[in-house]
């Protein structure tokens, strides 16, 4: 019967369902709806080899080597045996291939696991077999696996990892179907909806059922990846499956990010390539000249080939031969090695216990494995506030009731006391239903409650009634609240503890245990929260029969709705609110109104009309709400503490010391943001000034004269084309902070003033942008990226940070609090903001240093290796004769020298992690790009050239006209080759030793085993047996035995190494003496008076700071757009 339903349904549904879509999509959808099977894997057994090879050869480097291989097949050109290119290429290809294969196997397994989850499709079925149009049954606590539109029941749900529950509701027409399978299977309807997209908070569609159209929106849809709560079951119609689901659409798209070292490397490889062509041209010209002067006459012994009839042709061929020989300046293994190093350094992040958050069981995760070294170069950190700096845990901290402020405690002399761990908590034992985790310190409030103060009672009653929290009571007396926003939860919990326990609700009633007495209030209406209204109200009928309206909302809004008689109370309360706000607390005003029966009845009718109207429903409802929310009596105000995460102030202080500019971008209002700024060390009292908003004036104060045309930067600005230009670093005459709000930012981000903003902001120590939209967050990041050309990092936890995370060079997601969208978009994720400091100062710094050392060494060793061929060209008639044995060329990069450098780039540490954290200054070289830049590159190239000269000419000198001590040959080609290559190998190994700062057992092992391997392979490759088997491939038979026993050979090797290594040691020593780097200072002079930071942990908000920023004005629209769910959204006075 299921099939019947399906046929009917889909015939109708398929065609019409998406008929508002683009034509193309419709055409596709007509025949191929996605089934729910998810395929993230790329290959199968048969397609792997061809597809993978095809992909690999699309990379420029691999294609280049393939081209070289073809060149080698031309006999006139081939200057190297085929295996010198094939062996490395094959190794590189197979390594990448194996990695791809493992990745793909992992994906295959993942797919299999996901696809085989059981699910109830009216008949038991496997997950992957679900199709669009199926009706599935979901049970409590089960996770949703497809995007379903669901026709039955009311459900609240949360994304996994998301603490806030959202309420979802079925359409009334479909919820009537209930649990009736028969009705469900015969259900006939059409759904038209939008094509699959990645917007998690938006959905529009229409259900046509029995000829009537019903609008579908976000509150009617369940998304894949969320968990069902608070309902035993629900049925749903599958509308997106598999890759069409919003979650998959969201996770699939990743912008390909590259590090600045990557860019630099590309430039350098291009340079090297030009250099290569240059060298080859010189040699080719040399060859032409040699041919006319010598080669021509030498023809008696070596007649030239028929096709090569002139020096020009010969030179042309030699050019390509040299391209083959000298190609090792751009070694094929470079890219593979870089990938391996990055991968390993990413694993270190995953493995780091100090970035593991025990309470959540969340390890840090490097989701992108190609950006590690960029972590060591960050100059700007853009942080979200809520959930990132703060825990998003709200604690009812203070309140003001009827002009009386509660929450502070005073000692005997009437002095305010600070609340510490030892402060005695209020005893709530009189209330059996109290939440034991709740703590409050001010006894007077409890006394007031116990005394039966009416206003206090009314205050708490309103808190326990006016909300959208759901309660769960699995065990008698153990209430669990599930709130959409944590502040709501905090308020209801506070009311519960003071004796007004919200126990349960139905759609018509609310049960409250009032000081031990259970009362049932009839819920007449909920006046929804919206971003415009910034308040919510409930209308209830008390058991006594009174009609009451309770309202809570933003203070400024409530003030306007109060009865004039409240003005004196309002003034007092306002004072309290100022105090609360300056403590960094979030405030809400609470008011009530007693309603007349008649007034309510007439209003109720209007309300019904408005709520059933099809057009402009929202607006009409808003008007109706306003009608009744007036003449209210003020009860008081609440103050909720938004707790900082552990270690946030220390982390920020450390980052600022590391010369990282910290910008906080928040949707919060200005004063809250400023307060958080103070409490997490971003703003401090000893700052010269904290500016708010006005950009132009500000800069004048910080750097007098910078507005005048004579200022060099201004001058530069006016003269340079805007787009292509980098704002130089400017230094302010003191330490400043900047606070700017969303409105001003909107203006400031306009084309003509954005530079003003940037110049001003970049001179400030810290910048706080408040009330910004997600888009603005990304714009700010883009602005800095565009004009500063520095590495930026964005850290956030919520959906509103996704833009910013994607825009920045590195996006970091805080996993855990607000869901997984930010994490999915991020490159790195971990559970706590404080881990950022470890990520940057330890992992980032090490990765950067390792990568730089690796690149410097790698370029050096290949230049030293390759350029010897160049010098040899001058003595071998520019004939493209290699200096080394071909086997040595094949193995040099892959076997002989790869392991030590790999060990160094996996283990090297200049200082250990504790010191990296203790001295954030050590981070600066990375920011200034000091360890690997064009200058450093040129240095190592020059050193490589010097080494190759030494290698060649020392060997030349020592073998020229020389013989063995038994008179036999030593200046033959093979001995010469062996001496040069042995010297080279010893030299680069010694050089490696000089570079290594951190000698672990592995380093020792790799270095010594590389040398051993070289010598043993040498004897193996030059052995009798191999030579007798393949006399053409192993030509060097006996060379090692005859040469390596001679003293003058070892003396030559020693001299070469000494001549190359000693200058380096001298240079390093003198540099250390004259200009010690920070690391060396720290390592060598531990006695110097470094200031030590006391690492005492302060509780958030324990700072005293300057008071007040004028009136507490909350203006503008709340920018975090969250579509309202069900009957009320979270009170997003936070972001």
């Amino acid at each position: 019967w299921r099939m019947d339903w399906k046929r009917d349904q889909l015939e109708a549904g398929r065609f019409i369902k998406r008929h508002c879509l683009s034509f193309l999509y419709k055409a596709c959808v007509l025949f191929c709806f996605q089934n729910n099977a998810i395929k993230t894997s790329k290959y199968n057994f048969f397609t792997f080899l061809p597809m993978n090879l095809f992909e690999q050869f699309q990379r420029a480097a691999n294609a280049y080597f393939l081209f070289l291989l073809f060149l080698q097949l031309i006999p006139q050109i081939s200057s190297l045996a085929w295996y010198t290119t094939v062996v490395p290429l094959a190794l590189v290809l197979s390594m990448t291939g194996v990695k791809d294969a493992i990745d793909d196997m992992y994906r295959h397994n993942n797919d299999k696991k996901v696809n085989n989850q059981p699910v109830l499709v009216v008949k038991e079925e496997k997950w992957m077999n679900i199709k669009v149009g199926d009706i599935i049954k979901l049970q409590n606590n089960s996770s949703v696996t497809v995007s379903t539109l669901f026709p039955c029941n009311l459900v609240s749900f949360g994304f996994s990892g998301e603490t806030n529950l959202k309420v979802k509701q079925a359409l009334t027409v479909t919820s009537n179907l209930g649990d009736n399978l028969e009705k469900l299977t015969t259900f006939k309807g059409e759904v038209r909806c939008e094509p699959p997209n990645n917007r998690l908070d938006e959905f529009t569609g229409i259900l046509i059922y029995e000829g009537e159209k019903h609008a579908l929106n976000n509150e009617n849809i369940l998304l894949r990846g969320c968990t069902i709560r608070n309902t035993d079951w629900c049925y749903g119609l599958v509308i997106y499956a598999g890759h069409d689901t919003k979650l998959m659409q969201n996770s699939g798209k990743n912008i390909f990010k590259r590090t600045s070292i990557d860019h630099l490397m590309n430039i350098l490889v291009f340079w090297i390539f030009l250099f290569l062509v240059g060298m080859c041209s010189i040699l080719a010209i040399g060859h032409g000249i040699w041919q006319t002067q010598n080669g021509y006459y030498f023809q008696i012994y070596l007649p030239s080939e028929e096709t090569v009839n002139s020096p020009g042709v010969s030179a042309f061929l030699v050019f390509w031969s040299y391209i083959i020989i000298l190609n090792t300046v751009v070694p094929i293994s470079l890219y593979v090695s870089v990938e391996i190093i990055r991968l390993a350094n990413s694993f270190y992040i995953n493995w780091d216990r100090k970035m593991f958050y025990i309470p959540n069981d969340t390890p840090a995760q490097a989701r992108t494995t190609t950006l590690n070294e960029e972590l060591g170069q960050i100059q700007y950190v853009f942080s979200d506030k809520t959930g990132t700096l703060t825990q998003n845990i709200m604690i009812f901290n203070k309140c003001s009731i009827n002009g009386q402020s509660y929450g502070d405690i005073y000692n005997m002399t009437g002095q305010k006391m600070e609340i510490t761990e030892e402060t005695e908590k209020v005893d709530f034992s009189y209330n059996k239903l109290a939440d034991p985790k709740f703590s409050f310190y001010d006894e007077t409030l409890v006394e007031a409650v116990k005394k039966g103060d009416t206003m206090v009672h009314l205050f708490f009653l309103s808190l326990s009634l006016c909300h959208t929290v759901m309660s769960e009571e699995k065990v008698e007396g153990e209430l669990v609240y599930q709130a959409q926003s944590p502040d709501e939860g905090a308020l209801v919990t506070a009311a519960r503890n003071f004796g007004f326990v919200f126990r349960s609700r139905t759609s018509e009633t609310i049960t409250v245990v009032e000081m031990g007495v259970t009362k049932v209030y009839e819920l007449l209406a909920i006046l929804d929260f919206s971003n415009v209204r910034k308040r919510m109200s409930v209308i209830v009928q008390t058991p006594e029969g009174k009609m009451m309206l309770f309202c809570k909302g933003a203070d400024t809004i409530i003030w306007e709705l109060l009865h004039p008689s409240c003005i004196p109370l309002q003034d007092v309360t306002m004072g309290h609110l100022d105090e609360f706000a300056s403590d960094g607390l979030r405030t809400l005003a609470v008011a009530f109104r007693e309603l007349d029966e008649k007034v309510f009845q007439s209003w109720s009718r209007k309300h019904y009309e408005a709520s059933t109207s099809m057009e402009d429903r929202e607006e009409k409802l808003g008007l109706v709400y306003e009608e009744i929310e007036k003449d209210m009596m003020l009860l008081g105000a609440t103050a909720i503490e938004d707790k900082l995460q552990d270690g946030v102030p220390e982390t920020i202080a450390t980052l600022i010391k590391a010369n990282i500019n910290m910008w906080v971008l928040t949707g919060d209002k200005q004063e809250t943001a400023v307060n958080i700024g103070y409490s997490c060390n971003m703003l401090s009292d000893d700052m010269n000034e904290v500016f708010v908003i006005d950009a132009k004036e500000t800069r004048n104060k910080m750097k007098p004269g910078s507005l005048l045309g004579t200022d060099p930067v201004t001058d530069l600005l006016t003269r340079t084309e805007m787009k292509t230009f980098i704002v130089p670093k400017e230094v302010a005459n003191g330490s400043y902070g900047l606070v700017i709000d969303g409105h001003s930012l909107a203006h400031a981000l306009e084309e003509n003033v954005e530079l003003e903003l940037l110049r001003t902001a970049c001179m400030c120590k810290s910048v706080i942008c408040c009330r910004v939209t997600p888009l603005q967050k990304a714009q700010v990041v883009e602005l800095v990226k565009k004009y500063k050309h520095v590495a930026t990092l964005a850290i956030g936890d919520g959906a509103n940070d996704v833009n910013m995370i994607k825009a920045a060079h590195i996006g970091v997601g805080i996993s855990g609090q607000e869901g997984m969208q930010a994490m999915l978009a991020s490159d790195f994720s971990f559970a706590q903001f404080q881990f950022l400091k470890r990520l940057l100062l330890v992992h980032g710094r090490w990765s950067y240093i390792r990568m730089c050392k690796f690149l410097r060494y790698f370029f050096y060793k290949n230049f030293a290796f390759t350029l010897v061929h160049f010098w040899y060209g001058f003595f071998s008639g520019f004939s493209a004769q290699t200096v080394y044995d071909e086997w040595f060329i094949a193995f040099y990069n892959l076997i002989y020298t790869s392991l030590p450098v790999l060990a160094m780039s996996l283990f090297d540490q200049d200082v250990n992690d504790l010191w990296s954290l203790r001295f954030p200054e050590l981070y600066e070289p990375g920011q200034c790009n000091l360890y690997f830049n064009k200058k450093e590159f040129v240095k190592c190239i020059l050193y490589g050239i010097y080494s190759s000269l030494v290698l060649f000419f020392i060997t030349y000198g020592s073998t020229y006209n020389s013989v063995q001590s038994n008179g036999k040959d030593i200046s033959d080609y093979q001995s010469f080759a062996l001496i040069v290559q042995t010297s080279l190998l010893v030299l680069v190994t010694v050089q490696m030793g000089l570079e290594t700062a951190y000698w672990t057992a592995v380093n020792q092992f790799f270095i010594w085993s590389s040398l051993t391997l070289y010598f043993s392979l040498m004897f193996l490759l030059y052995s009798d047996g191999l030579c007798l088997l393949f006399p053409h491939t192993f030509k060097f038979m006996g060379t090692a035995r005859n040469t390596l026993i001679l003293p003058q050979v070892w003396l030559t090797i020693l001299l070469t190494v000494a001549l190359c290594a000693l200058p380096v040691i001298v240079y390093k020593f003198l540099r250390m003496e004259f200009q010690p780097t920070k690391v060396e200072k720290i390592r060598w002079y531990p006695r110097s008076p470094f200031y030590l930071r006391a690492s005492s942990r302060r509780s958030a908000y324990a700072f005293a700071h300057q008071q007040g920023f004028g009136a507490l004005i909350t203006s503008g629209k709340n920018v975090k757009s969250r579509a309202p769910f069900g009957f009320g959204d979270n009170y997003s006075f936070h972001t």
């Binding site: 010598n294 030498f298 008696i300 012994y301 070596l302 007649p303 080939e305 493995w351 780091d352 216990r353 593991f356 025990i358 069981d361 969340t362 552990d646 404080q834 003595f875 071998s876 004939s879 004769q881 540490q909 200082v911 250990n912 504790l914 010191w915 030349y956 020592s958 006209n961 013989v963 063995q964 001590s965 008179g967 036999k968 040959d969 200046s971 033959d972 080609y973 700062a997 951190y998 057992a1001 007798l1028 006399p1031 030509k1035 006996g1038 005859n1042 001679l1046 003293p1047 003058q1048 003396l1051 030559t1052 000693l1062 040691i1065 003198l1070 250390m1072 003496e1073 004259f1074 060598w1084 110097s1088 008076p1089 470094f1090």
Partner: protein, 384 residues
């Protein structure tokens, strides 16, 4: 087991430092105990570990014990002084050794100019040309004396030249195998050349005889040995004659290289063992030189009679059968008589290079010491 390990390594946070100056051992900075660490301590009992907690191995936590060497003055300066001393003494030793080598070189391209001219014309190929050169050895050449021929401007290291040989043929396995031997693979009527290739074809084929004149009337031929002038491995492994009772028949079906006067099995008529691919002169020639100017061992002086202690001082003459054309490619050739020392022939390069390096190292060591001592005072007032 895993738990045990965790415990051990945690306690083992200390071992990742070594050396007295490494910061971790410094007493001045107390090791901070981070919040995380204390968390770890608390939850380090076996049951309470969260499931996704990474393993606490020294490798994964990047705390492998390590040695952290550093270029301190205390290590560098003595090192430089020692290196300097070593290089200087080694250099002097090498110079003295090279100095004690006696060497005489006679370039005969110009002296035998009429022969040189004659050889410029290929049509005179079969004409004999001999040339005699007398010379004087002022000092006795003690010990083993070796006779070399030396060629100038001969590019044995030219790529096409180097590869123009067939090692399989030279192994005697398949003498008709002339692969890689271009442009001397076969003669016109398609018969393979043995030994094939440009190297073999261009083999040096002058004969050099040395005579000693103890007085103006007496002439003694200096006995010369052609044995043991090759690498042992070449003579015994790399070059082998085809297996056959008679060498001449073994090479049947091949022809001699075009520039040769005699086939390969008749190279040394005095010594039947020294023929075919095993001819020592041939083997020496086939080991190509690295540079365009090179000398190759031709003969050893047989130390008998007057020559038991080497070559006595006095008058000598060389009788050269001039066959090898060099003037065509602007080359030159010569004969070198030389004794050897442990360090090889008369080559001062290594000695001078060592002495110079040693001296410069000392100079560097002194100046670094001066710099270090001067800056040391400053460092006392060092402020970060």
């Amino acid at each position: 087991m895993a738990c045990l390990f965790r415990g051990v390594v945690l306690g083992g946070l200390v071992p990742f430092a070594a050396g007295p100056l490494s910061p971790q051992n410094s007493k001045f900075l107390p090791k901070p105990m981070s919040h995380q660490e204390s968390q770890e301590m608390k939850s380090n009992n076996c049951q309470g570990l969260p499931s996704r907690m990474p393993d606490n191995t020294a490798f994964q936590q990047q705390q492998l014990p390590a040695w952290r060497p550093s270029l301190t003055a205390r290590a560098v300066l003595p090192g430089f002084f020692t290196t300097g001393v070593f290089f200087l003494s080694m250099g002097i030793l090498l110079i003295l050794s090279a100095k004690s080598v006696k060497e005489i070189e006679i370039t005969y391209t110009d002296i035998c100019s009429n022969c040189s001219k004659l050889r410029e014309n290929a049509s005179n190929f079969y004409k004999e040309c001999t040339c005699s050169i007398s010379f004087f050895i002022p000092e006795k050449m003690p010990g083993n004396v070796y006779m070399y021929y030396k060629l100038y401007n001969f590019y044995q290291n030219y790529r096409r030249y180097i590869i123009s040989r067939n090692n399989r043929q030279l192994l005697g396995e398949d003498i008709t195998n002339v692969e890689n031997c271009a442009p001397f693979q076969r003669v016109s009527n398609d018969i393979p050349i043995a030994p094939c290739g440009a190297i073999a074809n261009s083999m040096f084929n002058d004969t050099i005889l040395l005579s000693y004149y103890p007085n103006s009337s007496t002439r003694i031929n200096v006995p010369l040995l052609s044995s043991d002038i090759t690498w042992w491995t070449d003579k015994h492994v790399k070059f082998q004659n085809p297996k056959s009772s008679n060498l001449a028949s073994a090479f049947a079906g091949t022809v001699k290289p075009p520039y040769w006067r005699k086939p390969v099995y008749q190279l040394d008529q005095g010594n039947p063992e020294n023929n075919g691919f095993l001819n020592s002169d041939f083997i020496v020639w086939m080991r190509v030189a690295a540079l365009p100017t090179f000398k190759k061992l031709y003969r050893r002086i047989h130390r008998i009679q007057q020559f038991a202690d080497g070559l006595p001082a006095g008058n000598y003459s060389l009788d050269i059968s001039y066959n090898f054309p060099v003037t065509l490619f602007k080359g030159e050739k010569g004969v070198v008589l030389s004794t050897v020392m442990w360090s090889g022939g008369k080559n001062f390069f290594l000695g001078i290079a060592y002495t110079t390096t040693g001296a410069v190292t000392w100079l560097a060591a002194f100046s670094m010491t001066a710099v270090h001592l001067k800056l040391k005072k400053k460092k006392a007032f060092f402020q970060c």
